[in-house]
């Protein structure tokens, strides 16, 4: 009986090839869309989470300028008095719950080494800067205290700069390597472990770090500090720390009660929240689009089945009239419906895997295989097939043969 039903189902699929293909197509589109969207959504979420953790959530950034929101332009703050190095020391010594604080200044430069050019940014700061930014050394060493004081010609480079200038294996430091930054040449003493793409889509590894005094004396020629980075001890009250930071800086910058702040304190937690909020919206949007395509696929299948139900009802009547049992007819239709939708589901999964892998690559998010959504989609497609293919047939198989034959 099973074998016969299988044979009959296969014959029926072959006989109604176009209808079968359309049914499969509906499911392929639905399943493919859902899996692709969810996989990409997962990838985007993961990528944001990675960026957040690479940023560190206990970080405060103090910048010059008036009331900038997260992601506001770089610390231009023209005309506003810059921070001083002593501000950094004061923060470290006077506010509790601070793990480290470091001044930061940047300049866009073209570096030359090993006969190659590379346009990048040079950052001047202290060893604390590495701790605060969660940077690890892949090879080499940090700055020596006397190098920091004297503003020696030493630098530590990011993975991108290392690759572009020196090439070779990831993280390797060529002993005695020299790098020319504008007018001066420095010894490359360390290579940083890669952190990948940053929260704004920038390449965090495209970086050269020199001691703060080195940058001031040999690159920018000023003593200004535009940004101060502060990392808090884990579990400390960030509101209290932010409030005391503000208080301290207002005093040190001699602002009166009527003056507005001419600096602002940026909390990476806020940036993280904003980013994860964005991915949540993104994932919801993708989910909605996928749900619509699934719905469209489902409606397509329903349409096909409704159109064919008249023909099918008469076919069932005929089969019953020439001696089929109701259960045999039903089994045939069940096998047919499940076979079509399962095939559609499998093709959909295959296409979705290829598509989401390729799209994840294009979008620069990791590809995360989600077995749950694959399994769910397969079950869902089988269910659609059963509901839309089997139930109309069930109704017909319970009719008297003559009634089904006469169906219009």
């Amino acid at each position: 009986m099973w074998l016969n039903a299988l044979l009959l189902a296969l014959r029926s699929i072959r006989r109604n090839l176009l209808r079968s293909i359309l049914t499969i197509l509906g499911i392929v589109i639905g399943v493919g869309a859902v899996i692709t969207m969810v996989t990409l959504g997962n990838g985007a979420t993961l990528s944001v989470q990675q960026q957040i953790s690479s940023l560190g959530t206990n970080l405060l950034m103090i910048r010059l300028g008036q009331r900038q929101g997260p992601g506001g332009g770089g610390g231009g703050g023209g005309g506003i008095q810059p921070f001083k190095e002593s501000d950094v020391t004061a923060i470290q010594s006077e506010i509790g719950g601070i793990a480290a604080a470091a001044p930061e200044a940047r300049a866009a430069v073209t570096v030359v080494g090993n006969g190659r050019n590379w346009a990048t940014n040079v950052t001047g700061s202290t060893n604390d800067w590495f701790t605060i930014g969660n940077w690890k050394l892949a090879s080499g060493r940090m700055f020596e205290p006397d190098e920091q004081l004297a503003g020696s010609a030493v630098c530590i480079i990011g993975e991108t700069v290392r690759r572009e200038i020196y090439g070779g294996a990831v993280g390797t430091l060529i002993p005695g390597a020299q790098l020319r930054i504008r007018q001066f040449s420095c010894n490359v003493v360390g290579v940083l472990v890669s952190k990948g793409q940053g929260g704004m889509g920038n390449d965090q590894d495209d970086i050269v770090v020199v001691p703060f005094h080195t940058l001031q004396r040999r690159v920018t020629g000023t003593r200004t500090v535009n940004t101060i980075l502060v990392s808090m001890e884990p579990g400390s009250e960030r509101t209290r720390i932010k409030a005391s930071l503000r208080q301290l800086l207002r005093e040190r910058r001699k602002l009166t009660d009527s003056d507005d702040d001419n600096f602002n304190v940026l909390d990476t937690q806020q940036i993280a929240d904003a980013l994860s909020g964005t991915t949540k919206v993104l994932t919801t949007l993708l989910g909605a689009v996928a749900a619509v395509s699934l719905l469209v696929g489902g409606i397509g299948i329903m349409n096909i089945m409704l159109v064919s139900v008249t023909e099918r009802t008469r076919e069932i009547g005929l089969r019953l009239a020439i001696g089929a049992l109701g259960s045999e007819v039903l089994l045939q239709f069940l096998i047919e419906a499940v076979a079509l939708s399962a095939l559609g589901g499998v093709i959909g999964i295959a296409i979705a895997t290829v598509a989401s892998y390729a799209l994840a690559h294009v979008m620069g998010v990791p590809y995360v295989f989600d077995s749950t959504i694959n399994l769910l989609s397969l079950l869902f497609s089988a269910a659609i097939g059963v509901i839309f293919g089997y139930f109309p047939a069930r109704r017909a198989a319970h009719m008297d043969p003559i009634e089904a034959l006469r169906h219009e």
Binding site: L8, N16, R319, L320, A321, I322, G323, A324, D400, I402
Partner: protein, 243 residues
């Protein structure tokens, strides 16, 4: 006469209910012996098809008794009636009712498939049945590629492929021209004469009814006349294939 194969006693059938209730059959008594060739005639709406469907176990009587080979059909379950159909009955419909886009071979095989025959048995049986209706060589043609007469012959091949005891044909020539109609009649006559298959046939045309050895006339859901035909028309030569 040989044993009684079919006996209807006071069979009624009504459609609808209340005001719209319509008595399609108002009490039919009919006995058919094995090996008979019986034509059912009567005006449109007189209940011929209704009676035929009940005789073919496709439908159940509203009241009354239907004995087929001594079994009370009216009290059988759906599946029991299906088993009866596939063992003893072959049905030829007015509208052919072949599966579309399916070869003659597969259409004719279908009853054997439901009976559980193996692929070789099915193929041989279908070939034999198609040959006996003069369609050898047309096995792979789909209904769309066959003429009306050929389609009806495929339908007859499907009805006889299980070697049934009874072939029921409801206006088998209703859609065919005179020439094709006579060919179909020749086939039915041959089945009845050479294989001893009981043939019950509904027809409007006296020409076709003339082939039968007994004619039953329906009027308003009752049998008005039931008469023997002493001199059935002789069939033209059974059709060998004509294109």
């Amino acid at each position: 006469m040989s044993a009684v194969l079919i006996r209807l006693s006071a069979v009624t059938k009504s459609y609808g209910s209340g005001q719209a209730r319509l008595m399609a059959l108002q009490g039919i008594d009919l006995e058919v012996a094995a090996g008979e060739f019986l034509a059912i005639m009567g005006p449109s709406g007189s209940g011929k098809s209704t009676a035929m469907n009940i005789l073919g176990c496709l439908d159940t009587p509203g009241s009354g008794q239907y004995l087929f080979k001594g079994a009370h059909v009216e009290s059988l379950s759906r599946d029991q009636r299906a088993r009866l159909r596939r063992r003893f009955l072959g049905f030829v419909f007015q509208g052919f009712n072949l599966l579309p886009r399916t070869s003659a071979q597969e259409n004719v095989e279908l009853p054997l498939l439901y009976r559980g025959d193996s692929a070789t048995v099915r193929r041989a049986g279908a070939a034999r049945a198609l040959q006996s209706v003069g369609l050898a060589g047309w096995e792979q043609h789909t209904p769309g590629e066959l003429s009306g007469g050929q389609q009806q012959r495929v339908a007859i091949a499907r009805a006889i492929v299980t070697a049934p005891a009874v072939v029921l044909a409801d206006e088998p020539t209703g859609n065919l021209d005179t020439q094709r109609s006579h060919e179909i009649m020749a086939l039915l006559v041959a089945l009845n004469r050479d294989h001893g298959i009981t043939v019950l046939m509904v027809t409007h045309e006296p020409d076709m009814a003339a082939y039968a050895r007994r004619q039953v006339h329906f009027v308003d859901g009752r049998i008005a006349r039931d008469e023997a035909n002493a001199h059935p028309a002789t069939a033209p030569a059974a059709p060998t294939e004509t294109v």
